[in-house]
């Protein structure tokens, strides 16, 4: 019981730290950029956040399991590409029916790619960084080969309603993201699979000896990650009305940053979904703020890189390979 309370209290500290950081970043940008606190800015943030958020969740689950998935952005591209291809080839006249089918295709292909990656991590016993790096190079090459580096655009009008529409004042991409967060929260905190994922991350050997099929868990870890990437790919397709391989490539750094900012342990096993969601919002605030200030895109890249190292330095004393 006491352990439980202590456990909750560290989680609360994480969460409050993230909320404090969010408030701080909003305040800073409210002071240094005059028109930051406008509904328009928050509206555009609400439309941008979901893609980044889904990719971050896709990065988060493998990190909890002690790995990393460098292929998230290109998995999203490939899934979007597949959905766009099927919709344009077979469903151009079907109107609204194209939407659920595209969603299904994106998520299924993402799940498939992820499970293949997971199977390689699990059964080949290769390092996840290497496997996902190989997968990333392969998927990018595949996408470039299929599209010759060009855009595929021109989706049916119904995609517009998902990409830019709102429901009860909430942007639809945001709704999709919140549902995904809820599902991930549920899986990670309340299911056997979620518990196994945490255990695999903190001590794979002990997990194996306590009778959990580590390989099966790993396949699901990367499968979930792939499915979330696929969902992100679907949202990108709906929002931009086009797919290009390499789109969202720069998100990779921010997803990693968000995971470690929110207290995920780089050696696996620790990290919670709620601080992640709050930390993510603060990163989106910073990104939008820098954008509004007219900071160059390259300067922003450098800032993210420096920020990642800074976060790791501050986090390092509290994390060790146990």
């Amino acid at each position: 019981m006491r352990k439980l309370i202590q456990g909750w209290s560290t989680d609360r500290i994480e969460l409050s730290a993230m909320i404090a950081f969010l408030i701080l970043s909003i305040l800073v940008f409210a002071v240094i950029t005059p028109n930051f606190l406008s509904p328009g800015i928050f509206r555009s943030m609400a439309f941008q956040l979901p893609e980044l958020g889904l990719l971050t969740l896709a990065m988060f689950i493998p990190i909890i399991a002690g790995g990393l998935n460098l292929a998230v952005t290109f998995t999203a591209n490939i899934c979007g590409l597949a959905a766009a291809f099927v919709v344009q080839k077979f469903l151009a006249e079907n109107g609204a029916a194209a939407l659920p089918i595209a969603l299904l295709i994106s998520v299924t292909i993402g799940l498939g790619i992820g499970m293949l990656v997971g199977a390689m991590v699990a059964y080949v016993v290769a390092h996840p960084i290497l496997v996902t790096l190989g997968a990333m190079i392969f998927l990018r090459g595949l996408g470039e080969l299929l599209t010759r580096g060009a855009d595929i655009s021109g989706m049916p009008a119904v995609f517009e309603t998902v990409g830019h529409g709102t429901w009860l004042g909430i942007p639809i991409p945001m709704l999709i993201f919140l549902i995904a967060v809820a599902i991930c929260f549920y899986i990670m905190q309340f299911t056997k699979l979620g518990f196994s994922i945490h255990m695999v991350g903190s001590n794979p050997k002990a997990t194996m000896f306590s009778g959990i099929d580590v390989n099966r868990v790993l396949v699901w870890v990367y499968g979930l990650s792939g499915a979330l990437s696929g969902l992100a790919g679907f949202l990108m397709l709906a929002r931009f009305n086009s797919v290009r391989v390499g789109h969202g490539e720069s998100y990779l750094l921010i997803t990693i940053l968000a995971c470690f900012l929110a207290g995920a342990n780089p050696f696996g096993g620790f990290g919670r979904v709620l601080p992640l969601a709050v930390g993510l919002i603060s990163l989106q605030v910073i990104a939008s703020g820098m954008n509004l200030m007219g900071a160059s895109q390259h300067l922003a890249t450098a800032a993210w890189g420096g920020f990642l190292i800074l976060v790791m330095i501050l986090r390092a004393p509290f994390q060790s390979k146990t």
Binding site: L68, M120, Y123, V124, V125, A126, H127, I129, L130, V131, L133, G134, A135, M136, I137, F138, L139, R140, G141, L142, E144, L145, R148, G149, L253, I256, F260, P266, F267, S296, H298, L299, A300, T301, A302, A303, W304, G305, G306, L308, I309, M312, I313, A316, S320
Partner: protein, 332 residues
């Protein structure tokens, strides 16, 4: 004999020979002196990168920032040289080496002093270096480079029926770096310490190995290689384009992994990395000569990495006795 072909180097060598024979038969231009010399000239930069990277991988780390670091070195060194009115090879090489080592030591500092995982540090410095370089240079290329860097230095030349084929300075520098790295890793006690640290950091620490020195050396050596490779690349293309080497790191990493190095440390050889680079180069060269879309190359590289990982760990997947399964687990 059997042993030679069960090692990564042996298999790679065999693959290279098979591929070379296939390309000689199926294309006219592959087995020409011109093509082979071009291959060597063009791959020397990649090989210098690869022998640097293999040291880091053997020491149990990973670095993806080196190719961007090489771009930074190019830019800084050429800007400095132009501002001081030219300079010469000695000053250029010294500056490139010094800048490269400093950038490498920045990585080593974060990894050793702050105990951050190397992949995360180098993802951070990759973006930090690249973002700052693009921002400060405003993405502009330098076309006016010093004369000594501009005019190619020939080290070996053969007269052919049509013109002549020449090997240039980068090939010589590459041979020197390959030899130096091989000597350090395979022939010195310090090299054994790097292998030892890579295979079991805790045991190495407890047996009194200077961990800071090893980490500093590994990333510093890669920085040195990156600096020199950067200068050589500027010498070959005769200009400095800030984003020219962006993305190169993944090809090099693929090549080194192909050559038998593993993430997690303790395994990998200089010969393997050189052969890995050459195999990828042959594949690319072959695809060009056969007229296959260059877009397919990246996909094939990815497939090769995945295939190579699977092949090196094949003994773990196939049905096996309990004992060897356990050994497989321990190596992972």
């Amino acid at each position: 004999m059997r042993r030679a072909f069960s090692s990564a180097e042996g298999i790679l060598g065999l693959l290279i020979v098979v591929l070379a024979v296939f390309l000689t038969i199926s294309t006219d231009s592959f087995a020409s002196v011109q093509n082979l010399f071009d291959l060597l000239n063009n791959q020397s930069v990649n090989i210098i990168f690869a022998v640097g990277l293999v040291v880091v991988l053997v020491a149990g780390g990973i670095d993806i920032s080196f190719s961007v670091a090489a771009s930074v070195v190019q830019y800084i060194v050429v800007t400095l040289l132009v501002s001081m009115g030219g300079g010469n090879w000695a000053i250029g090489l010294f500056l490139a080496a010094a800048t490269g080592i400093s950038l490498g030591l920045i990585n080593a500092l974060f990894i050793h002093r702050f105990r951050i995982v190397s992949i995360i540090v180098t993802i951070g410095t990759f973006n930090l270096f690249f973002g700052l370089l693009m921002y400060l240079s405003r993405g502009r290329s330098i076309y006016t480079i010093p004369d000594w860097l501009y005019s190619r230095v020939a080290i070996f030349s053969i007269e052919l029926e049509r013109g002549s084929a020449t090997l240039y300075l980068p090939v010589l520098v590459m041979l020197f770096m390959v030899f130096a790295t091989w000597f350090l890793l395979a022939k010195t006690g310090f090299g054994r310490q790097i292998y030892g640290f890579g295979s079991n950091p805790d045991a190495a620490r407890r047996s009194g190995i200077n961990v800071a020195l090893i980490q500093g050396f590994a990333y510093g050596w890669l920085g040195l290689c990156a600096g020199i490779a950067g200068l050589m690349q500027a010498h070959i293309v005769r200009e400095v384009v800030p984003n020219a080497l962006y993305g190169r790191e993944l090809d090099i990493l693929a090549a080194v992994v192909l050559g038998g190095a593993v993430l997690g440390g303790g395994r990998g050889t200089v010969l393997g990395s050189v052969l890995g680079v050459m195999l990828l180069a042959l594949i690319q060269n072959g695809l060009n000569l056969l007229g296959i879309s260059p877009f397919a190359f990246k996909m094939i590289v990815g497939a090769i990495i995945l295939g190579a990982i699977t092949a090196t760990n094949l003994d773990r997947i196939l049905p096996q006795s309990r004992k060897s399964a356990k050994e497989g687990q321990n190596n992972a």
